[in-house]
């Protein structure tokens, strides 16, 4: 009977106390990140054997578009989930940012204004979620389900079944430009975001506070952490990254429809969970999320080369999401007998 309660929390550790800890090198080898890296390498090798076009640098460069925009949001989402919250409105926030940029473009705004508006709208979406969750203490799942409807709903009100097209040529640089040879602008933004978020989460006080909140928000409050303020900042960051992703995606597609970025939230959460971030909060790492983004990108690109339709890919993404959480639990259940 007590099994029923323990299933929702990770199995209690410390039941048997080992004489010595495993060495750091061995621990790194056994880590989730290492497992992911091996999976990524295996998929890479399998893809290069399956298709002669895979190893072409330009092809690989194109393949990164599969994940760069989602991964940018995934870094912020990872911190949010580590802190024990979730934001399901990111796809809709992209739609709203893109719509605002489209309106400004139609009014004759130039590229710098469009970028500022994209970032500003993203921040506003994040601030709205953060206000409702952190200030008014509402559960983040329902709030962001509500704003998911609201943000995209505003896009539908503005656009109906129409679309904005005809963005200025200089705006195309974000989603279609190259910095150097095959290195795309989006890849550079992705790398910078990975470094910035990695440093914030793993090397700063702020990052330690995020883990503390995720493990025990009450204890964190008692140790003097401004829990509500940090949760608000995390929502703000997620909104900001949605804004950046919206700029890249709009620039790459060159148009805005209200259905833009539908289902992004699922793929972003999948990348985060695949990256080893506990959905219950309190643990996870940015390097894991980076590798998970690569795995997702490689899987979807490989399947694309094999002509697998998009909806079948989404089945695989869904199965991946459940599988990566279920398999370790099944494994430990079987080992315990």
């Amino acid at each position: 009977m007590s099994d029923a309660t323990t299933t929702s929390v990770p199995a209690a550790s410390g039941r048997n106390i080992p004489d010595r800890l495993i060495s750091p090198a061995a621990r790194a080898l056994k880590s989730w990140e290492m497992l992911l890296l091996i999976v990524a390498a295996a998929i890479f090798i399998a893809n290069s054997l399956a298709s002669p076009y895979f190893l072409d640098p330009w092809n690989l460069s194109d393949a990164t578009f599969n994940f760069t925009e989602k991964a940018m949001i995934a870094f912020a989402m990872a911190m949010l989930i580590v802190a024990g919250d979730i934001d399901l409105s990111v796809g809709s926030a992209i739609a709203l940012c893109s719509t605002v940029m489209g309106l400004a473009m139609a009014a004759g705004a130039g590229t710098p204004v469009l970028v500022l508006l994209g970032l500003g709208t993203g921040l506003a979406c994040g601030a709205f979620n953060g206000l409702l969750v952190a200030r008014f203490g509402l559960p983040s799942i329902v709030v962001t389900i509500g704003t998911m409807s609201l943000f995209r709903g505003i896009s539908y009100i503005v656009l109906g079944d129409g679309a904005f097209t005809g963005y200025p040529a200089s705006f195309a640089w974000f989603g279609q430009g190259y910095v150097f040879w095959v290195i795309t602008v989006e890849m550079v933004i992705f790398t910078l975001a990975a470094i910035v978020f990695g440093v914030i989460l793993h090397l700063t006080n702020f990052g330690r506070m995020v883990y503390a909140i995720g493990n025990n928000a009450t204890a964190a409050r008692f140790s003097g952490i401004r829990v509500d303020r940090i949760r608000f900042i995390l929502f703000l960051l997620t909104g900001l990254m949605s804004g950046i992703a919206a700029i890249c995606l709009t620039s790459r597609l060159g148009s805005t429809r209200p259905s833009i970025a539908t289902g992004f939230e699922l793929e972003v959460v999948t990348i985060v969970v695949l990256g080893g971030v506990s959905i219950l909060g309190g643990s996870g790492s940015i390097p894991g999320v980076v590798i998970a983004a690569l795995v997702m990108g490689l899987v979807t690109f490989g399947l694309g080369l094999l002509n697998v339709p998009g909806i079948v890919m989404s089945i695989i993404v869904g199965a991946l999401l459940i599988g990566v959480i279920a398999l370790p639990r099944l494994w430990s259940m079987l080992r315990r007998g």
Partner: protein, 323 residues
């Protein structure tokens, strides 16, 4: 309990005000015939909201109900194409829905995966399964048998069968929730899982039961939906899970589990249904629908949380009092 009762009274009042406002400009909207039409249109939402309510009561959430509905509806249409008699189709749709719900429930119960992750995943898997079944093809009205399409629309005593089914199931569900051990278990598990275990209730099994119930209702609704609109394809009821959650939240079902009533869920669904049906009458573009239900969710949760102080501060105050 008085707070709960007053919340439902407020919701009922809101519905009446809404109807009065619409009626003041468009009296035809509140004629019995039109209201019966609104009830029939809202039946799928009511049925799914009941299932979702059971799931939310146990501290879970089921985002896969709309995909489940679409898959069961498609299977029902395919079975009809093979000439299977209607009662068997109904059983198959309900059974398949229950099985799909059971998959969610088992993953939550046996593996302890958070329900939001499980159902985000199964949502895409179930919808993808429709594509695998049909290759993306549509099943249109002329490919369905007359009996298959006629059943939900057959009128008995002024109401179509679809609305009667909703009414009957609401009554049955109210009995289940209020008068059976399982119904009480939903509340007990959501209210305090640890206390529920000490009273001999299995948390996981109760959650599993809630998911199976939600799945079975989604399966039945799948058949009703496909038969009523006489079309089945991959994307039917896309995004409907948000409306269902919205109906529950508006109806005052606490997302943290353990609180909420059948009347609330039904009225939450009716509230959204009336807005949806009134939009074209009042002359507002249907594209407003999504933003309106989003705002309704936010207003409802803010309203339901009203008067409940910030839990973090309460803990600090208690600690201060104790010392």
């Amino acid at each position: 309990m008085t707070v709960l009762k007053s919340r439902e009274a407020i919701l009922a009042l809101a519905i009446l005000v809404l109807l009065a406002v619409i009626a003041s400009r468009f009296p035809a909207f509140v004629t019995p015939g039109n209201l019966a039409g609104v009830l029939t249109d809202t039946s799928p939402l009511i049925l799914l909201a009941l299932g979702q309510m059971a799931v939310i009561l146990t501290k879970c959430i089921d985002l896969s109900v709309a995909a489940n509905l679409a898959l069961c509806g498609m299977v029902a249409a395919l079975l009809d194409g093979m000439g299977v008699p209607l009662p068997l189709i109904l059983l198959a749709a309900i059974g398949l829905g229950a099985c799909l719900g059971a998959v969610n429930g088992l993953l939550v119960w046996k593996l302890g995966i958070p329900s939001i992750v499980v159902t985000l995943g199964t949502m895409t898997i179930y919808r993808g399964a429709i594509f695998l079944l049909t290759g993306g093809a549509w099943i249109n009205a002329h490919q369905m048998s007359e009996g298959f399409k006629a059943f939900p629309r057959a009128v008995i005593a002024g109401l179509p069968v679809m609305a009667w089914l909703a009414v009957l199931i609401v009554a049955g569900f109210a009995l289940l929730v209020l008068r059976t051990p399982l119904g009480r278990a939903f509340y007990a598990v959501g209210g305090n899982p640890h206390a529920a275990v000490y009273t001999g209730i299995s948390v996981g099994r109760t959650q599993f039961a809630a998911f199976v119930l939600a799945g079975a209702l989604a399966g039945l609704t799948g058949y009703l939906w496909v038969a009523r609109y006489a079309v089945a394809y991959v994307d039917i009821a896309g995004g409907f899970e948000l409306d269902v959650v919205a109906a529950c939240v508006i109806g005052g079902i606490a997302i943290a589990g353990g609180a909420g009533s059948v009347a609330g869920a039904v009225m939450g669904a009716l509230f959204l249904g009336i807005i949806k049906n009134a939009l074209p009458v009042v002359g507002i573009s249907p594209f407003w629908q999504m933003a309106i239900s989003g705002s309704a969710i936010l207003i409802a949760i803010a309203f339901n949380a009203r008067g409940r102080r910030d839990p973090g501060r309460i803990i600090l105050k208690r600690a201060e009092h104790r010392t």
